[in-house]
């Protein structure tokens, strides 16, 4: 994640990469017709950036992640979700769309260090070697649904449902334990 203010780290672990949970991040789900130029214009007006392309995460103060052909996830400060939502609501009021605050429904983890790609390769059936910075993958981490994207060559963000945040933390922790380095990347 980019530098959100007031981020409070709830728990963290340092193995050969560092894992930390970010608990005060706001998340807003936006659904709509991304092919409509009217929607694009309204969106840009409300949010200040263009729509992300397929599988793209626009890395900015407010990361914007493409989630599906008609769904986005916007990250912001926890307290800013309702403002953001209202701005969008105003612009999109006569278009079919959906805005849902999911800040409490998702957990967000940041993984940083030089071995991040291989830590993910222990958990997700993804060709991580070819994943580009700012490219999102919706996949599974071991037995749970997850999405992740690289924010730089040495940091990435992972989201999952909040009810399984403990499981996700333990997965990332176990995978990054010292002495378990694979050395394939």
């Amino acid at each position: 994640m980019s530098d959100h203010q007031n981020e409070r780290v709830m728990r963290s672990y340092s193995g050969y990469v560092k894992v930390s949970e970010k608990t005060t991040v706001g998340m807003l789900t936006v659904r709509g017709d991304f092919r409509s130029s009217k929607f694009k214009t309204s969106f840009t007006k409300a949010v200040g950036t263009k729509l992300p392309k397929e599988r793209e995460v626009i890395l900015a103060r407010n990361d914007i992640a493409w989630m599906s052909p008609d769904e986005l996830l916007i990250f912001c400060d926890y307290a800013d979700v309702s403002n953001l939502s209202q701005n969008l609501q105003m612009e999109l009021k006569d278009q079919h769309h959906m805005l849902v605050n999911v800040s409490d429904a998702r957990a967000l983890f940041e993984v940083s260090g030089s071995g991040i790609r291989e830590v993910i390769a222990k958990l997700a059936p993804v060709n991580i070697a070819t994943l580009e910075i700012g490219e999102i993958r919706r996949t599974r981490f071991s037995q749970i649904a997850a999405a992740f994207w690289l924010t730089s060559e040495t940091s990435l963000s992972v989201i999952c449902f909040s009810s399984v945040a403990d499981y996700m933390f333990n997965l990332l922790k176990t995978s990054s334990m010292l002495n378990s380095k694979v050395g394939d990347f």
């Binding site: 993804v126 070697a129 449902f161 394939d184």
Partner: protein, 1003 residues
């Protein structure tokens, strides 16, 4: 005796002594030893007992094909049975014990089976233990279980770590011998992303032992050069101690990496299972030497010629003082020459071929080694160790009389390519008559999704046994694979390396050729499972013509080594017994894994807290800290009840209900599914999904709704709230949240793709708490901030606002029959809100209640529960829910199905209440019997119990059930037989036992 030679040993470091234990005996070896080479250096040839006859067993091979040297390895939480000594690297403090004997390895009582062998032929178990039938369960099975198994089962939990690793490559090469290394080098230049794996710690395969020179270089220089060239390529990953375990569809291949089995200290993961996707796979897996089938070929000291050579060259170990060589091909002459060079006496080379060997044989003779052509070994002297052999003419029945002293026999019956990985995914084999081996059929390779081949065998795994053929085959095989993997071939000419001419092998499947039945009963095919030539012949006589049937009948190749040494010899005997050609009989199926892999590696990190994901509500930790007895509901854990002061669960449930009905209870209802549905067509959409009308619901109101499948069966229920003009919030059951979300998306994406509706699953966005009981309103008023009076928030209404300091949405709904509010707050506020409710509720003696109290209270009210009253065969009409089915709507999912003749049959079982006459509790799921019998001759039934509880409110058992014409039979008494033979009588009543007019919830 077998011993360490004064010098030599490519892999060992004689300056580093390693101490280990075998059967409690303290022994030592050198760094670089395998357990097998270290045992042999200590003259420990006897290492185990066979499975059936408990015959003494010695080390046969030097690799993963080993059938005999299986040991119990380690202790306590590191204990593991059936480990092969030949692939176990020696480390300081290693503790090993031999298996399958009592009381000791040297004296085993079970060997009595050996003397009963005449009475224990193939199929003995099948023939013996089938009669009389009842004996199986009470006598045979317990007895067989006692004596079955090789190693012991571990008694403690494995404390090692394991993990998985997902990897993607253009090309995966299995095998790090000269074929694999050359293929990797050729492919590396093409820029492909390559993984090459080798199951042993060292690269180079057999070439270090078999050839002193390759081209102008020594073999170790040659291998070192290949390795250093390969290491320069960024696109090549090299992993040793990693075995290709299995090849599966679409280029999926498993790599089994053993990270610290060779270390005394246990740091990091023990095994890592690589789950690899490859565009192309090359199997350069080499070949395995075959034993020769001659009388008493199972006595310790009889070894593969290649293994004898390996121990001498790699580990500086002589496996005997006098080692006789027995062969049908030229390769075994290398063993004799090697032994001669290191100063071990070779009293004779017995060559089955009349014509004898080629250049290697000439060299052996020049060294002064006696060579006997056209001969066979007809007898082995010794019991626990080879003492001498008798040789005869091969073509004979075994009447020779020359006895030659030796304490080890190095045998070679030819070579079998390791075709396992090539075959796992459907690669076909063909029989090579000249070399007497099955090799990959290059015209029938395993194919991938596109119908094109994706596995290619090269080198001796492809049947190219001679060194120059291996190199040429690796080169040629690689070129086609590079193209298929999307790489460009950088053409460099293949450098031809000449090798000495070798005479061709002569297939011998039994020696001596005319061995009589007594001798055939002593010729072992499968050393571990004790399958002999006469067993396979018996199977053929008894009609087991298919190789798969003969295998299972005789247990040939069914041991832990999966017949790596025995299969080809066995099927050759089967085919000659059947009078068929070998290729007509074929091989048994090769299945993964190549050698057993640890269960831990398959599980990976999924153990202890990672065994399964547990979904937790925001109040989960509070429940656990307050003594809740948790039950699984889907992947959630929910409090079943909160026992206090050592009370039973039943008492806790009773207390929770009484408290809630008399004053105040709290329920963590966060797990309930919450689906937000929005859009101009949302009302129309929900009218199709629910049986009743949702589009007419007014903003601020709630309505209970039912959802059916296309076939009319009830699949979910819950309260729907209208949020705004275009938005509804649908509550689902806990277990239904994900499936109903998927159900909605499926209809929207496939059938009604043009409807403007969006759905979001917001289940986890909220903590939802039920505040239930006559004092519920007082509690909320105490917290304050929102008017929750009867007038301001009526039954089945909801409102948003600040309740105290919480962002709340209050639904006035009731699943208990009491005055009740369900309050949703953002999940992150949930714990604080719960704490505040507990604190503020103290004056009302507030108590949390669990799922069991919830169930009992809803049953007292006659409310149905999805999964109790429904089981996938129940329609809403069965549950008298006609009031929740709109008659005005043209259509809804399930409507047409519910009009089918079977669904409108008046005899369908319908929901009623059941009251036992004596007040006891009916068994859940019990059936009510009726007069007569059904077509199967079973007693007819007329109903069944769907929910049954003790009601603390009514102080007696209550139940709901489905009964034929139930609602019309009010007051009738029906009978429920119990499994103890007695029966319970129950009266049919209304299912609403408590407050039928709903006065308590509507205050």
């Amino acid at each position: 005796m077998s011993k360490r030679l004064a010098e030599g040993g490519l892999l060992i470091d004689r300056n580093k002594t390693i101490k280990f234990e075998f059967n409690g005996k303290k022994l030592s070896g050198f760094e670089g030893d395998t357990l097998a080479s270290a045992l042999l250096s200590n003259d420990q040839v006897l290492v185990g007992r066979s499975f059936k006859y408990h015959r003494p067993r010695g080390i046969v091979s030097s690799g993963s094909e080993e059938p005999n040297a299986l040991i119990n390895l380690g202790e306590k939480e590191k204990f593991e049975p059936n480990q092969r000594a030949t692939t176990t690297e020696l480390f300081d403090g290693l503790k090993a014990a031999s298996q399958n004997h009592w009381p000791s390895l040297n004296f085993d009582f079970g060997v009595i089976n050996n003397y009963l062998a005449r009475f224990l032929p193939a199929g003995f178990y099948y023939k013996m233990f089938i009669h009389p039938r009842p004996f199986w369960k009470y006598i045979y099975e317990p007895f067989i279980r006692q004596s079955a198994g090789l190693g012991r089962a571990p008694s403690q939990k494995d404390n090692s770590q394991y993990e998985h690793f997902y990897a993607f490559y253009d090309l995966v090469i299995v095998g790090g011998g000269i074929a694999g290394l050359n293929a990797a080098l050729t492919a590396a230049e093409s820029g492909l992303k390559i993984l090459i794996m080798e199951q042993t710690p060292e690269w180079g395969g057999r070439c270090l032992v078999d050839f002193s020179k390759i081209g102008d270089e020594t073999s170790s220089e040659y291998v070192s050069r290949l390795l250093s060239e390969l290491r320069k390529f960024q696109n090549v990953t090299m992993r040793s101690r990693m075995m290709g375990a299995g090849v599966y569809d679409h280029g999926y291949i498993l790599g089994y990496e053993r990270l610290n089995d060779h270390l005394a200290a246990d740091e990091g993961p023990r095994h890592r299972l690589w789950r690899i996707r490859a565009k192309q796979i090359i199997t350069a897996t080499g070949s395995i030497e075959r034993p020769v089938s001659f009388p008493s070929n199972d006595i310790p000291g009889v070894m593969l010629a290649s293994a004898v050579r390996d121990y001498a060259v790699k580990f500086g170990v002589a496996t005997g003082d006098k080692i006789a060589v027995y062969t049908n091909n030229d390769d075994a002459y290398r063993t004799a020459i090697t032994l001669n060079e290191v100063g071990v006496e070779v009293p004779v080379i017995v060559d089955a071929r009349m014509s004898g060997g080629g250049a290697l044989a000439e060299r052996a003779k020049a060294l002064g080694i006696r060579v006997e052509n056209g001969k066979a070994i007809s007898k082995v002297f010794g019991k626990k160790r080879v003492e001498a052999i008798r040789i005869c003419e091969h073509k004979d029945s075994g009447k020779g009389n020359e006895k030659i002293e030796c304490d080890c026999i190095a045998m070679s019956g030819g070579w079998s390519p390791v075709v396992h990985l090539y075959s796992h995914c459907g690669g076909k084999l063909k029989w090579d008559e000249k070399l007497a081996l099955f090799k990959p059929d290059s015209s029938a390779k395993p194919t991938s999704h596109d119908g094109l081949p994706f596995v290619t065998a090269v080198g001796s795994a492809n049947g190219s046994l001679l060194m120059h053929e291996v190199l040429k085959d690796a080169w040629e095989g690689c070129l086609s694979v590079i193209k298929a993997a999307g790489g460009k071939v950088k053409t460099k000419n293949f450098k031809v390396i000449e090798q000495q001419y070798e005479n061709s092998l002569q297939a011998i499947w039994i020696a001596p050729h005319d061995a009589d039945i007594k001798k055939r009963a002593k010729i072992w095919l499968d050393f571990q499972n004790d399958v002999k030539i006469n067993d396979v012949e018996l199977a053929a006589r008894e009609g087991f013509e298919s190789v798969e049937h003969a295998k299972r009948y005789t247990t040939l190749g069914m041991a832990t080594d999966q017949g790596k040494l025995s299969n080809i010899n066995g099927l050759a005997i089967l085919s000659s017994s059947l009078g068929k050609d070998i290729p007509k009989v074929g091989t048994t199926t090769f299945r993964p894994p190549y050698t057993p892999i640890s269960l831990g590696s398959i599980g990976g990190s999924a153990r202890d807290e990672l065994f399964q994901p547990v979904r937790k509500t925001p109040m989960h930790d509070w429940h656990e800290n307050n003594g809740a007895y948790m039950e699984p509901v889907g992947q959630w854990r929910r409090p079943f009840c909160y026992p206090q002061f050592g009370e039973t669960y039943a008492k806790a449930v009773e207390r929770e209900i009484n408290q809630t009905r008399s004053s105040l209870g709290l329920l963590d209802a966060s797990t309930l599914g919450k689906l937000l549905v929005t859009g101009p067509d949302a009302g129309k959409f929900l009218d199709m999904l629910y049986t009743n009308m949702m589009s007419t619901l007014k903003i601020g109101k709630c309505r209970y709704g039912l959802m059916c499948s296309e076939n009319g069966f009830l699949i979910d229920d819950g309260v729907v709230a209208r949020i705004d003009e275009q938005t509804w919030l649908c509550h689902t059951t806990t277990g239904g949240a994900d499936s109903i979300h998927a159900h909605m998306e499926e209809w929207l994406q496939t059938e009604w793709w043009d409807w403007k509706v969006y759905v979001a699953n917001v289940t986890e966005q909220y903590a939802q708490i039920g505040v239930v009981g006559p004092n519920a309103r007082k509690l909320l008023e105490k917290i304050g901030g929102l008017d929750v009076s009867r007038e301001a928030l009526g039954f089945m209404e909801w409102k948003d606002g600040k309740l105290g300091k919480y962002d709340a949405r209050i639904f006035r709904i009731s699943f208990s029959g009491e005055l009740s509010y369900e309050i949703a707050v953002p999940a992150k506020q949930g714990m604080a809100f719960w704490d505040e409710l507990i604190e503020a509720g103290k004056e009302f003696q507030v108590m949390p209640y669990g799922t069991e109290a919830l169930h009992v209270m809803r049953a007292e009210k006659g409310f149905i529960m999805i999964g109790d009253e429904t089981d996938g065969t129940v329609i809403p009409q069965d549950l008298n829910l006609n009031w929740a089915i709109s008659k005005k709507k043209d259509d809804y999912l399930g409507k047409r199905a519910q009009e089918r003749s079977f669904m409108v049959n008046p005899n369908r079982w319908k929901l009623v209440g059941l009251e036992t006459l004596d007040g006891s509790v009916l068994p859940d799921g019990a059936y009510a019997t009726a007069d007569g019998v059904n077509p199967n001759g079973q007693k007819s039934t007329q109903g069944r119990v769907t929910s049954s509880y003790f009601s603390p409110t009514l102080k007696r058992g209550i139940a709901m059930g489905l009964v034929m014409n139930g609602p019309e039979r009010d007051g009738e008494i029906i009978e429920f037989p119990k499994i103890d033979g007695t029966a319970m009588q129950a009266k049919i009543t209304s299912p609403v036992f408590y407050d039928p007019d709903g006065e308590k919830q509507n205050v």
